[in-house]
């Protein structure tokens, strides 16, 4: 197995990891890559933040939106 993926491949895997379950080898390859690549670690965090934020879009315009009045 190729141990070191190029960053470009990593971005594809990170994105697909949000849409399908990655295989064992793919997950290991990502781990190995993240251990030495700060840029890709940042990319991974950005993708997670993006997902979190898009889920919140419908909740409210401001910070006090959905659920604030519910019990």
């Amino acid at each position: 197995m190729k141990m070191m993926l190029p960053c470009k491949e990593v971005t594809h895997l990170v994105s697909q990891g949000l849409d399908r379950r990655l295989g064992f080898g793919e997950r290991v390859a990502l781990r190995v890559h993240f251990a030495i690549c700060g840029g890709c670690r940042n990319f991974d965090r950005q993708m997670k933040l993006l997902r979190e934020a898009v889920r919140q879009l419908g909740e409210a315009d401001g910070p006090r939106g959905a659920g604030s009045q519910s019990t």
């Binding site: 933040l49 898009v54 889920r55 879009l57 910070p63 959905a66």
Partner: protein, 184 residues
């Protein structure tokens, strides 16, 4: 029992918000207005179902989501849609050097934890979403906002799983680039 005029006024108060929400996902003002209208009518008819249990906006948004999914399903059955992803992956090649490493590594975004930061981040995100090509944006919102599985999106848009992943990849890459410029 006829709906109370008080309730009706409260519903009207949410119209502008709902319209913005629907337009963001449908990219079509007419269809967005139809969805909002249907939502408000359904809400009026179902006032008892609301019963003040939860936040009115949250309740309405829940109804609206279903109306939007229905509208997407209707339109995806109409022909005359291209089945290819918009653009292609090479669009992002410039971000990497010939060996596939970052030409400019992604920065560490500050987490928008405070209330103000959060609403600023969401506003930046909304502006970036509006710049995506329509079908790419729709696939992305179906996946990330509506929480549909890739299989459902493929079926609705009539594309293969691989094309679907490519579209979602392109949406994420474009949004990331856009947010790199507006959010640091």
């Amino acid at each position: 029992m006829p709906p109370s005029s008080d309730f009706q006024a409260k519903l009207e108060g949410q119209r502008a918000y709902l319209l913005r929400y629907a337009t963001l996902q449908l990219r079509d003002t007419d269809r967005a207005e139809d969805c909002v209208q249907e939502t408000l009518l359904a809400a009026l008819a179902g006032e008892a179902g609301f019963g003040g249990r939860s936040n009115l906006r949250t309740w309405l948004t829940g109804i609206l989501k279903h109306k939007i999914v229905d509208a997407i399903r209707r339109s995806s059955r109409e022909p005359a849609m291209t089945l290819e992803p918009e653009g292609d992956e090479s669009e992002f090649d410039a971000l990497f050097d010939p060996r596939g490493h970052w030409a400019e590594a992604p920065s560490a975004w500050e987490r928008p934890d405070g209330a103000l930061e959060r609403s600023q981040f969401l506003a930046a995100l909304e502006a970036c979403l509006e710049q995506l090509p329509a079908r790419t944006a729709r696939a992305f919102m179906m996946r990330e906002h509506m929480g549909l599985e890739t299989e459902e999106i493929c079926k609705e848009l009539g594309i293969t799983a691989t094309n679907c992943w490519v579209m979602l990849y392109r949406a994420r890459m474009a949004l990331r680039l856009c947010l790199e410029q507006t959010w640091k």
